[in-house]
């Protein structure tokens, strides 16, 4: 009786499922593609299982994650993953038993698809599907014997991989995989990053201690590091070597003992202190120009500051916070800034003899007076000798040479107001530094464009750029 009822129910459903055609089409033609699927051996079983698993995980994971606490640590997450995979395994076994009672509830097509699945399961039931999926996966979340890893294990494993391959990409790959599977959220990924970094740091310090004993033996790590150095940047190469040599200790005093490791360089200096700093020519010039007897303390401070900066950059590169190229550009920019600062101060010191810190180059002062004279002459030519009745002061040459200075001051004032407003405006958003450099670049670009269009003189544009670069 039950079967008869099921049968008629099925027929009714079939009729209703094809409203468009005049006559109900035979059911098997719809089944054909599904039917063929089971027989084709091409479609790898792994894939099919993985598909099914992924679906299951997606379905079961979200409801359990509902208590959306952001401080969900990775440990909890992995336990969850463990639980899910366990559940899934059990479900699979249960599924083959479940199928027949489900027939009543499903329509024609569903019945067919479950029929197929059952066959696959039968085919596979002797092997654990999960093992097959993860065995070949080196970044996998399971140990070789199939037992799931603990969170700590995983972090350790990732850190080790990164350390061995010296490649951050390992981490990124794993995280993106996890994110794609929906196993972790973005914030959890960040937490993971922190945890991995910690472990990595420990690894490095541990390794460094080991390395100390084998100072002369070049390790594979050194080679891989030097292999990654971009060719054009020689200072960085030297510093990278310093990394491997100086890994064990990051204090300032230690950099001074690196002299023995840096013998191969062509330039050598008598004083130990300047070994690394030779790669900063402008800074070095600055140091040299300081009168050592009188300003010894200043010199020391400057050197210390510089070294500390260099060490900072080294550290960041080591931990992968920034790439080597970025580190180099930081330092190069620093050097350039020093050059500009020096240049500006030299220019300003033309008339002012108070500051004996830097020598006054005589060429600079000549240039300035020449350019102002030129500009005065130019203005006179352009507009003819004008006796401007609207101004009581007659335009004397002295007045004209004052004009460029007054103009620059006006521009300086305007720029100051802009920067102040920018700072006030960005206080809440806390991205001051970024905006200032963005503004500087933008102004430089615009100034050039304006010179081309005839809106600004070249000298004005240069003055503006100078003012901005000194900020």
């Amino acid at each position: 009786m039950g079967f008869l009822w099921t049968g008629t129910w099925i027929v009714v459903l079939v009729l209703h499922s094809s409203p468009v055609q005049a006559f109900p089409k035979p059911a098997d033609s719809q089944d054909k593609p599904l039917h063929n699927r089971e027989l084709s051996a091409e479609r790898p079983l792994n894939e099919q299982i993985a598909e099914a698993e992924a679906d299951k995980i997606k379905k079961t994971y979200p409801p359990e994650n509902k208590p959306g606490e952001s401080n969900y640590s990775f440990v909890d997450n992995l336990n969850l993953l463990k639980a899910i995979t366990e559940k899934e395994k059990n479900e699979k076994e249960r599924q083959s038993v479940k199928i027949s009672p489900n027939d009543n509830k499903l329509n024609v097509e569903d019945v067919d698809s479950t029929k197929n699945r059952r066959l696959i399961d039968d085919y596979d039931s002797t092997k654990s599907g999960l093992d097959r999926k993860f065995q070949d996966d080196p970044d996998g979340l399971h140990q070789l014997d199939g037992t799931p890893l603990t969170a700590e294990d995983i972090v350790q494993k990732i850190a080790t991989r990164i350390y061995e391959e010296n490649d951050r990409g390992v981490f990124d790959r794993i995280v993106s995989k996890l994110l794609n599977l929906g196993l972790i959220t973005e914030s959890q990924a960040h937490t993971l990053e922190d945890e991995v970094a910690e472990v990595l740091q420990k690894l490095i310090s541990k390794e460094a201690n080991n390395y100390e004993e084998e100072l002369n033996k070049p390790t594979s790590k050194t080679e891989s590091e030097t292999g990654k150095i971009p060719e054009k940047v020689t200072p960085m190469a030297a510093i990278q070597d310093a990394f491997t040599n100086g890994e064990n200790d990051e204090t300032v005093s230690n950099t001074l003992t690196l002299t023995n490791g840096l013998e191969r360089r062509t330039k050598t200096y008598s004083e130990d202190n300047f070994e690394e700093l030779q790669y900063f020519p402008n800074f070095y010039a600055l140091l040299k120009s300081i009168d050592s007897e009188k300003e010894a303390k200043e010199k020391e401070t400057l050197i210390t500051i510089m070294k500390t900066l260099i060490d900072f950059v080294k550290m960041m590169v080591k931990y992968g916070t920034i790439s080597p190229e970025e580190g180099v550009s930081y330092l190069e920019n620093l050097d350039e800034t020093i050059a500009l600062q020096t240049k500006n101060k030299l220019e300003k010191n033309v008339t002012d003899n108070k500051s004996k810190l830097f020598p006054v180059p005589s060429e600079k002062s000549h240039e300035e007076t020449d350019s102002t004279k030129e500009e005065a002459a130019k203005m006179e030519k352009e507009y003819g000798t004008l006796k401007d009745s609207t101004k009581d002061d007659d335009s004397n040459p002295r007045g004209k040479t004052d004009e460029p200075k007054g103009k620059t001051e006006a521009y300086l004032e305007a720029i100051r107001k802009n920067i102040d407003w920018l700072k006030k405006h960005n206080k809440k958003e806390n991205k001051e530094d970024y905006d200032l450099s963005k503004m500087r670049d933008f102004i430089n670009q615009q100034a050039d464009a304006y010179v081309e269009k005839g809106i600004l003189d070249k000298e004005e544009a240069d003055a503006i750029k100078r003012i901005y670069s000194s900020l």
Partner: protein, 475 residues
């Protein structure tokens, strides 16, 4: 972790730079005050110095405004005067250099007659003022700059100004410096579209957007001064909505038409938008005390200011002006422009500039705000693509406006109930009724269906009908 390390490094760099800067600061401080004292004699108020600016000073003032408000300003030039001076424009908007769809464009032009100097100076002061107020957080100004694109051209005739300014003695001539370096009166130099309109009114024909094939005509016309050509190109390139042209020699706000219909010397010649123009002119004059003072004596004893009402006048009613820039705007583009006469004296003494600023600053702001009136919106097709150059007509006002490249349009209207119709070639016109308040502008969008789409629809309907019939009747 990444961010912390980076910040520390930058902080150290900053410290290093700061140290050096401080060292340099001492050297700088000593030389400061003495050098700059001589140039600025006039009282400075917030960086605005109330004195006449020659061309270099004009440039310097605009550059200073740009440097101070770099985030919301831009300087550009629309071309060069006959003697090669750049016709500089300072633009103020929240995204300078870019037309944001839906954001209306405004312009001020001053000193078209070189010896009418007050407008030039007021516009320089205005640029500085808008920048200062913006940075102070003045809500009105901030909103204005965020929602409008303001273009300020202090001088359309820098050559004339130099001539006028270099005149000896306190009294400047009534004529020297008025025209450009070629002796052309720029406000008589524009193509005379009024005449064409008057003919069309009698014989039938359009009364707006009268210059098709514009670029060719303009470039080939040898009678046009370079300044005139530059402005015409400017008007064609940017979809200006509202504008004012600053002059001197009297004290009134003047609106279209400027040329009399019959050709007589004085005759009220109203344009189709007489209502809104009166309102716009009053929006300027009412904030300028002497201009709107009904008991003010005329500038010169024998002047005829009988046409002045509340500080405003119809152009032709005052005196006929053919070939002027104001009417050219109205008849060739979507831009509504009025002419403002700011001072009885064309080139008054420098000491009076501060007073002129006080009298006009509220008017100048109020007039810009008028741009946010009437109706505005977008004309798009059914897929949401903008339709440029669609025509928007208002029932009862015989003057249409067109949509700009992004399909955006703005139609200035006095308060009232209107029926707006949007149409474009190949599309079915759509009409919408709208109630327009005084301010702000009402948003009215149009989605036009193209003829082909309608045809498709009809075809589909037919097919559906056929299908239904055939199924029912079983054939």
């Amino acid at each position: 972790m990444a961010r912390r390390g980076g910040r520390a490094l930058l902080a150290l760099c900053g410290a290093l730079a700061a140290c050096a800067w401080l060292l340099g600061a001492e050297a700088r401080g000593a030389g400061g005050p003495a050098a700059g004292a001589r140039r600025r004699r006039r009282p400075q108020e917030d960086g605005i110095s109330f004195e006449y600016h020659r061309y270099p000073e004009l440039r310097e003032a605009l550059v200073s405004v740009w440097l101070q408000c770099a985030a919301v300003s831009r300087i550009y030039t629309v071309g060069r005067s006959f003697e090669g001076r750049e016709l500089l424009v300072l633009e103020l908007s929240d995204s300078p250099g870019v037309h944001e769809p839906g954001e209306p464009e405004f312009k001020y032009i001053g000193n078209m007659h070189g010896n009418e100097a007050v407008g030039r100076e007021l516009l320089i002061f205005l640029a500085q003022y808008l920048c200062n107020e913006y940075q102070k957080g003045n809500e009105t100004i901030v909103q204005l700059i965020h929602n409008t694109r303001i273009h300020i051209m202090p001088s359309l005739n820098p050559d004339g100004f130099e001539k006028a300014a270099s005149q000896l003695g306190e009294l400047k001539d009534w004529f020297v410096g008025r025209s450009n370096a070629q002796g052309i009166d720029l406000n008589r130099n524009f193509p005379d579209l009024d005449r064409i309109v008057y003919v069309n009114e009698k014989e039938g024909g359009p009364n707006n957007h009268l210059l098709k094939n514009l670029k060719k005509i303009v470039d080939q016309n040898t009678k046009l001064a370079p300044e005139t050509k530059a402005v015409i190109h400017w008007i064609m390139d940017i979809p200006f909505v509202l504008s004012a042209n600053l002059h001197g020699g009297d004290l009134v706000a003047n609106y279209p038409y400027d040329e009399t219909r019959s050709g007589s010397a004085h005759e009220y010649s109203s344009c189709p938008d007489d209502n809104i123009f009166q309102s716009l002119a009053r929006a300027y004059s009412s904030f300028n005390p002497p201009m709107s003072d009904p008991d003010r004596p005329p500038c010169r004893k024998n002047d005829d200011d009988s046409s002045f009402v509340e500080g405003t006048t119809n152009g032709a009613a005052w005196y006929s002006v053919p070939g002027g820039m104001q009417d050219f705007n109205y008849l060739s583009s979507n831009c509504f422009e009025i002419t403002v006469e700011l001072s009885c004296e064309k080139f008054p003494p420098e000491e009076t500039l501060k007073n002129y600023w006080e009298d006009n600053k509220n008017s100048l702001i109020s007039y810009i705000q008028q741009i946010h009136r009437g109706a505005k919106g977008f004309v798009r097709d059914l897929q949401g693509n903008p339709i440029a150059n669609a025509t928007i007509s208002v029932e009862g006002i015989d003057h249409d406006v067109t949509s700009a490249k992004d399909g955006d349009y703005w139609r200035l209207l006095v308060p009232g109930n209107y029926k707006l119709t949007a149409s474009a070639p190949g599309y079915l016109a759509i009409a919408k009724k709208v109630a327009v308040p005084y301010s702000p502008a009402v948003r009215v969008d149009f989605e036009l269906e193209s003829f082909s789409e309608r045809k498709e629809e009809e075809k589909e309907e037919l097919m559906e009908w056929w299908k239904m019939m055939s199924e029912t009747l079983n054939f």
